[in-house]
Amino acid sequence: MRRIAEQALGAAAGRGVSYADVRVVECRSRQVATKNGKVGGMSSSESLGVGIRVLVEGCWGFAATDDLSNRGLEAAAALAWEIARSSAAAKKKDVRLAPEDRYEAVWISPCRIDPFSIPIEQNLDLLLRIDTELRRNSGVTLAEASMVFTRERQFFASSPGSRIDQTRTTSGAGFVAHSFKGNEIQKRSYPNSFGGQHQLKGYELIEELGLLENAPRIAEEAVALHSAAQCPEGVFDLILDSSQLGLQIHESIGHPIELDRVLGSEANYAGMSFLTLDKLNHLNYGSEMVNVVADARLEHGPGLGTFAFDDEGVPAQSTSVIRDGRFTGYLTSRETAAEVGLARSNGAMRADGWGRLPLIRMTNISLLAGSQALEEVFDGDAIYMETNKSWSIDDKRYNFQFGCEIGWEIRHGKRARMLKNPSYSGISTEFWNSCAAIAGPEHWVLWGTPNCGKGQPEQVMGTGHGASPSRFRNIKIGTAYGG
């Protein structure tokens, strides 16, 4: 990989560029899935290619290829240069980059059990046993279970001299029980929707998830939802489990703090952000107990947003996003950091494989654990919701609406009755300012969101979100089915 990187970098730099970097990326993945007692998807894939990014006369150009011959690399470098030159036709100012040191590093993410060393028969055996458990309940009409493993090795080389060899292994697994009856399709997922839990781990993650043990409960809940009461419409205290809160963080904090959105780069597709520059260090984003970080370091945990260096060679960092309720920081690139006068990027540039340009992406955006016992979070009356079912937010990230798979009416701190079709909605800052209780670190989970889309052409990225169950006051509930 180093040879390819050096050759590509040489081809790019030799054309007269003010900056160039190349990423040679080799990716391997395995997907195994079952459906109603049979094998569903069963595939593996590998991919190797190079992305070349150059800065010429103040404009970016990028070309990617999987033709790794001398001719292919030369042609890609020439195309990147030509693209950058053509950008001058619509240029307002030269791109400037915040300064960054050079690094020589090799980093391999912790992986206790290599998932690719586990026989596929073993993957299938577990998934089919889960399937059997789910369908033991005759009300389950569709059972689906899946596992996915990826290993991505990237060699990054830049014209200033960085050489970074980084390997990340991720694993994910989960299952869903669907139940169709009358005029309703209900479902329950475990341990989360979006294919379950995903982390920067090896096969040890699968062993930690307790998949088989939870299958009977999940099946029972999916079927029981048919006879549950409809979630009421009105204003109530809301308690969210940590997985749903993870997605709430993703949509109403993670995306708004992307500085490229704030500056308008995503206006045509993903949209912009209500977090305009004047709000930094002034906006009361949440109540005083709300503390949120963007932390890509391994010390934060094995998240999908954990790495040693981002995709423009900036070391992983921890940035305070909300401190004691006050908005304190964006996610940045070297270019956007320079544009707003920051001394340095906080390392959030990530690309979807070798074929796509690095963009500002979430790392691990986490709500830090609170100090309350779970009993305090659940104290009194409220509606409790678990596991995301639908999610939507406007293109400036103000108005959101989420649906969950299951809800519970909480009376005097206890589950009084199950509720079906629960949903809630609100305005991002109003929601976070209503945060009234956050459970302690023993309930904190670093969830993986594997399917975050952004950019044109679209890129899919995995992000991490740590959270513990939390309570919010006076939230509008039941909107999705209301009216």
Binding site: G41, S87, I120
Partner: protein, 452 residues
């Protein structure tokens, strides 16, 4: 031009021969090879300047083998001899690990695939300079109106082929050009997008003028109360919203009881004026005229006079149900089965202007955003309006309004259609491109209003 230089028919046959040889030597009963190659380029602009400008050259080889009643797939982007042999070995190794499936069908037999010519050399040869000049001109329109523009200009060529050991050789290549633009004032925005296989049919300046006009008209947006309104959905909004329901027009989805059509086929579900086909050969459509196994696609009458009639049917679903396959199956093995992806919704004779003129009070919607399913059987979808939402009063546009959140049952929506415009090729961001009209719909449910 009968083939793409990125992936010629001769290339396909040579690679397939190598894969077949390796598969036979390793004991496979059957082998299927899917090959693809693409060259795509996209020039992206924001704040009235080009800020991201990219190109991507990509190939893939995907091999499915069958041993006994077992099958699996392995893919790579390397095409040398060692890689071809290695990917065949990987596919076989996984297949041998799989549970035996007595219902697994032998691979498809050759069928007659009628060519669909959607390749335009001028689109394939589009240069970075061509795209930059088109973008610069569009930005000029926005700047002339003191607006701020963001968008994309893209062009690409792709080719794909499916070959198998039973003699299937299905081959397709095409080009695609897209231009999309959002223009903004300090309190409003407008948007327009078009896509076509021939870049000369994508008029960037006209799209820029349309976006600018929408942004100018929606300045100083008023806040209206949420509630039930008559709405006029422009074709892009129709496409993005209705596009969410076509994965349910699937025999496998109905068999799995995860489709809203479960128990509803053949019933008058929608209004009598609703007719929807799937037709890959429609002049405004795009995409290969065969499915993931190389089976020729045939047209489907999905909805006739408001009644859901036909659904897509893969070979596996067809055998289960004693029917003929329709050529809409996804590559095997998969859990989803099939779906129609070349939707053609029959339009009407009311222009958008006439629809507006005939509306005493309503909302004109340019574009919808972040559409997600709330309820899978009632097909309730939520999402937001975006980039050009207007109040209509007494047959005219009065002003822009703050964007709404909607929670709308799609079955009810298609019962409440009051008028349709002529259909056109619509392009959005939330669903695949389709041929769709603008719709005037009564009783559309806006549940909340956002802050802009």
């Amino acid at each position: 031009m009968a083939e793409s230089e990125l992936l010629t028919r001769t290339d396909c046959q040579a690679i397939f021969a190598r894969a077949l040889r390796a598969a036979r030597a390793l004991g496979a009963d059957d082998v299927e090879v899917t090959l693809g190659a693409s060259d795509s380029a996209l020039t992206r602009f924001a704040n009235n300047a080009i800020h991201q400008n990219v190109s991507e050259h990509r190939r893939f080889l995907s091999v499915r083998t069958v041993v006994g009643h077992r099958t699996a797939r392995a893919s790579t982007n390397r095409l040398d001899d060692d890689a071809v042999r290695s990917v065949v070995e990987e596919s076989l190794a996984i297949a041998r690990s799989a549970e035996s499936d007595p219902e697994l069908l032998p691979m498809a037999e050759p069928g007659e695939v009628r060519d669909a010519n959607r390749f335009f050399l001028s689109t394939a040869r589009s240069t970075p300079r061509d795209r930059a000049e088109m973008v610069a001109a569009a930005i000029g329109v926005a700047q002339g109106a003191s607006q701020n523009a963001a968008g994309i200009c893209s062009a690409g060529e792709s080719a794909m082929a499916i070959l198998n050991s039973r003699g299937v050789f299905a081959y397709y290549f095409d080009t695609l050009a897209q231009f999309s633009i959002t223009t903004m004032t300090d309190d409003s925005s407008g948007w327009a997008k078009a896509s076509a296989p021939d870049s000369s049919e994508v008029d960037a300046l006209a799209l820029a003028r349309r976006a600018v006009e929408k942004a100018a008209l929606s300045r100083g947006p008023r806040e209206l109360a949420p509630g039930r309104y008559t709405v006029i959905l422009e074709p892009s909004a129709v496409q993005d919203l209705l596009g969410q329901m076509f994965f349910d027009f699937s025999a496998t989805a109905i068999h799995d009881q995860r489709s809203f059509l479960t128990g509803r086929l053949g019933q008058p579900l929608f209004g009598a004026g609703i007719h929807i086909d799937d037709d890959v050969y429609h002049t405004l459509q795009s995409g290969p005229p065969f499915d993931g196994e190389g089976v020729p696609r045939r047209p489907l009458a999905l909805v006739e006079g408001g009644v859901p009639r036909e659904v897509a049917c893969s070979r596996q679903a067809a055998r289960r149900e004693g029917r003929a396959p329709t050529g809409h199956g996804f590559p095997l093995p998969n859990e989803s089965g099939e779906a129609p992806l070349n939707i053609v919704m029959r339009g009407g004779d009311q222009s958008l202007d006439r629809m507006i003129a005939g509306t005493p009070r309503g909302i004109l919607v340019t574009r919808l955003w972040y559409i997600r399913e709330v309820d899978p059987y009632e097909k309730i979808m939520t999402g937001m309006t975006r980039d050009g939402t207007f109040l209509i009063e007494d047959g005219g546009l009065v002003c822009g309004v703050r964007n709404f959140r909607f929670n709308q049952n799609l079955i009810a929506l298609l019962r409440n259609v009051e008028a349709l415009s002529p259909a056109e090729r619509a392009a959005g961001e939330e669903s695949f491109d389709m041929v769709a009209p603008a719709l005037k719909v009564g009783d559309f449910h806006f549940s909340e209003v956002t802050k802009f």
